[in-house]
């Protein structure tokens, strides 16, 4: 136990990874909710890929102009500029050409990513950037400057999101109404995009270009399956981000694997578990709901069976007339809950509500029989065919049949049409 859980905590690299990862996960989780709800997931991807060009540019400019080696703020600024340029190019291309937005995003982010890769390799004598580090991230080698940058970014972004929560909520949910009460919807969009860029930039050094979008959207999507309110979704999402980081880091130490990969793996497994068991939007819940569903046809058949039997109807009699194997018991239970039938010591009785419903079906049945006779259906087929058709018993249909047949009072077997 001690070896597994406590020992890694005493390592400095592990502590830093834990602190840095937690900070990034919280802010990525919160802002990720808006990304998910606005369907901007692809944008996160575009931003992270664009970054490498920005970092290379920032590095170069700072080195050539000021002689500063690997100047962190310079690279950060470069990343931000590259991110904003990517967003601007994407919207420009999709607006002025017939190329749609998803394609424009694909073109621009790969293009700018390629620019960054080429720049880094051409200027490899000036720029000392480890491309692999960039692509895969290195959460176990987090530097103190990275920690400070991510802490500042998190504080800034969270402050904005908390202060203007209602603005973001309304502008995401109903931009037209937001604009109609005078909210600066466009500005809100830009602020959000900037926040997403900041978070992406601060997270890339830890989990890498490829995985950062996962950290942004997976915890948010997990929380989305569990909450019906945005504020709760944001809190849950932050929580899931943190658990992913903690779980992933232990996974990484135990398996001696890549840090970023382990975190995202844990995060994805966490999503799958929630997807399976979420109480309202999960697969299990969905399956249970479907199982509980009782076919209307079985309900109607049971109603008419009891009506025709005219007294306390034992289960065996219902079994005999209603063809639906094991669904009957479930249907009876459902009908009891809905107040259609009452259970007695020997069988089942219709309530007033059940009687009205049964009469409705019976009326449909007998009208259909009468109708079938007028169109020349052989006598022996009248009942079975009508038995199928009686389930088409909505008001309009029945009214039409009644009118067309001249409101008959008896069906072909001489039985009264209720």
């Amino acid at each position: 136990m001690y070896e597994l859980f406590i020992a890694p905590l005493s390592e400095v690299y592990f502590q830093k990874a834990l602190i840095g990862g937690t900070i990034v996960a919280i802010v990525a989780g919160v802002v990720g909710c808006l990304v998910v709800l606005r369907r901007m997931a692809f944008l996160g991807d575009a931003l992270s890929h664009a970054m490498i060009a920005g970092v290379a540019g920032g590095y170069l400019v700072m080195k050539l102009l000021f002689g500063a080696e690997a100047h962190a703020p310079g690279m950060l600024l470069g990343s931000l500029l590259a991110a904003i340029a990517t967003v601007a190019l994407i919207s420009f291309v999709s607006r002025i050409s017939r190329v749609k937005e998803d394609t424009a995003i694909g073109i621009m982010y790969t293009g700018i990513f390629a620019l960054g890769v080429v720049a880094v390799s051409i200027f490899r004598h000036y720029i000392h950037i480890d491309l692999m580090h960039f692509i895969m991230g290195d959460i176990l080698g987090v530097a103190d400057t990275d920690l400070w940058v991510s802490a500042l970014v998190a504080a800034f972004v969270l402050t904005i999101l908390i202060l203007f929560f209602r603005h973001f909520q309304l502008a995401t949910f109903d931009p037209v109404m937001a604009a109609s009460i005078g909210l600066p919807v466009l500005l809100i969009d830009y602020v959000l995009t900037t926040c997403v860029s900041l978070v992406v930039v601060s997270a890339v050094s830890m989990v890498g270009v490829i995985l950062v979008v996962g950290l942004l959207i997976t915890p948010a999507a997990t929380a989305y399956l569990l909450s019906d309110r945005l504020d709760r979704m944001m809190m849950l999402s932050a929580l899931f981000g943190v658990t992913s980081v903690i779980g992933g880091l232990y996974l990484c130490v135990w398996l001696d694997s890549a840090g970023g990969g382990a975190i995202m793996l844990f995060c994805t497994l966490q999503f799958l578990v929630v997807l399976a068991v979420a109480p309202k939007y999960g697969l299990l819940a969905r399956w249970m709901r479907l199982r509980k569903l009782v076919p209307q046809q079985v309900v109607e058949d049971i109603l008419t069976t009891i009506l025709r039997y005219e007294k306390d109807t034992p289960l065996e009699v219902i079994r005999q007339y209603v063809q639906s194997g094991k669904g009957i018991r479930k249907a009876l239970e459902y009908m009891g809950d809905e107040g259609f039938i009452e259970q007695t010591s020997t069988g089942y009785l219709l309530t007033d509500k059940g009687l009205a419903e049964a009469n409705k079906v019976l009326r449909a049945h007998r009208l259909w029989e009468a109708y079938l006779e007028t169109i020349g259906t052989p006598k022996e087929e009248l009942h079975p065919t009508a038995h199928h058709l009686e389930h088409i018993s909505d008001g309009n249909t029945v009214e039409y049949l009644d009118e067309r047949l001249g409101s008959p009072s008896q069906d072909p077997h001489g039985k009264v049409i209720p």
Binding site: L37, L170, D174, S180, I181, Y224, L230
Partner: protein
């Protein structure tokens, strides 16, 4: 009638164009208060541009839109907007109560939380549309008519005297349509002016006090009897609508 009251929405010589093609051309109309007004016209007639102009979203080429005597751009929030059903993400994590509370957002300063007064106003609005028992439901769990009523509540909570509804009757069944109409009529009785974009000519006469018939140009504004005449309709709908007689009968009753 309410003819004598000054208009709350005054549109004068409004012309709006997209790429040198007019979406609205020289539209002038003055809508008096306390009425249920239907905006009708064929597809692409500029109905949504008309809405945007009233909400102050577009800068007209010429002409003006005034809300309560102020230009539409300055009168932000004096017109409460109820979106089309299709324009809303029904899976959004938000409850009925929160949607109603959104109506108060304009009054709440950014640095504070909604106060008790705000919450009470939202609850009151929900009561008015008879949705008070659904406060904690996620909006996607409601039926179409209930959803429409929740958005009505949000508009009522805004406290605006003018409500603008974009096709509230689209895609709902007859019973729901009545329920929504009932809410509209109660809102009217409480002194609201309602402008409703409407598609169904056959019910237009029955539902509205006044109708605006537009297709780029303003063809008519007046009571259904005046607007729903065969000559006008056949001009605007260009024979796309062959059987006008029922509709016109409706207008005459």
């Amino acid at each position: 009638m309410t003819i004598d009251k000054p208009a709350v929405i005054t549109v004068e010589h409004l012309t709006v164009s997209y790429h040198a093609r007019p979406a609205l051309l020289d539209v002038s109309v003055g809508i008096e208060p306390d009425q249920l007004v239907g905006v009708i016209g064929p597809n692409g007639a500029g109905k949504s541009t008309f809405i945007k102009a009233i909400l102050g979203f577009i800068k007209p080429d010429i002409g003006s839109v005034e809300i309560n005597g102020k230009s539409a751009q300055k009168a932000k929030g004096e017109v409460a907007y109820v979106p089309q059903r299709g324009a809303v993400d029904w899976d959004f994590p938000i409850t009925v109560r929160e949607v109603a509370l959104m109506g108060r957002y304009q009054q709440i300063p950014w640095y504070t939380n909604p106060s008790r007064v705000d919450r009470e106003a939202a609850a009151e609005a929900l009561e008015m549309v008879r949705m008070q028992d659904f406060g904690d439901r996620q909006i996607g769990e409601l039926s179409g008519g209930q959803q429409q009523r929740v958005f009505m509540a949000r508009a009522l909570a805004q406290g605006s005297d003018i409500l603008l509804l974009d096709e509230p009757f689209a895609g709902v069944d007859a019973a729901t349509e009545r329920a929504i109409l009932d809410v509209l009529e109660r809102a009217k009785k409480s002194g609201k002016t309602l402008v409703v974009v409407h598609h169904d000519l056959s019910t237009a006469a029955e539902y509205f006090d006044k109708l605006i018939l537009i297709k780029q140009r303003m063809y008519a504004y007046g009571t259904p009897q005046v607007v729903l005449n065969e000559e006008l309709l056949s001009k605007v709908y260009e024979g796309k609508l062959r059987i006008f007689s029922d509709i016109i009968k409706g207008g005459e009753k």
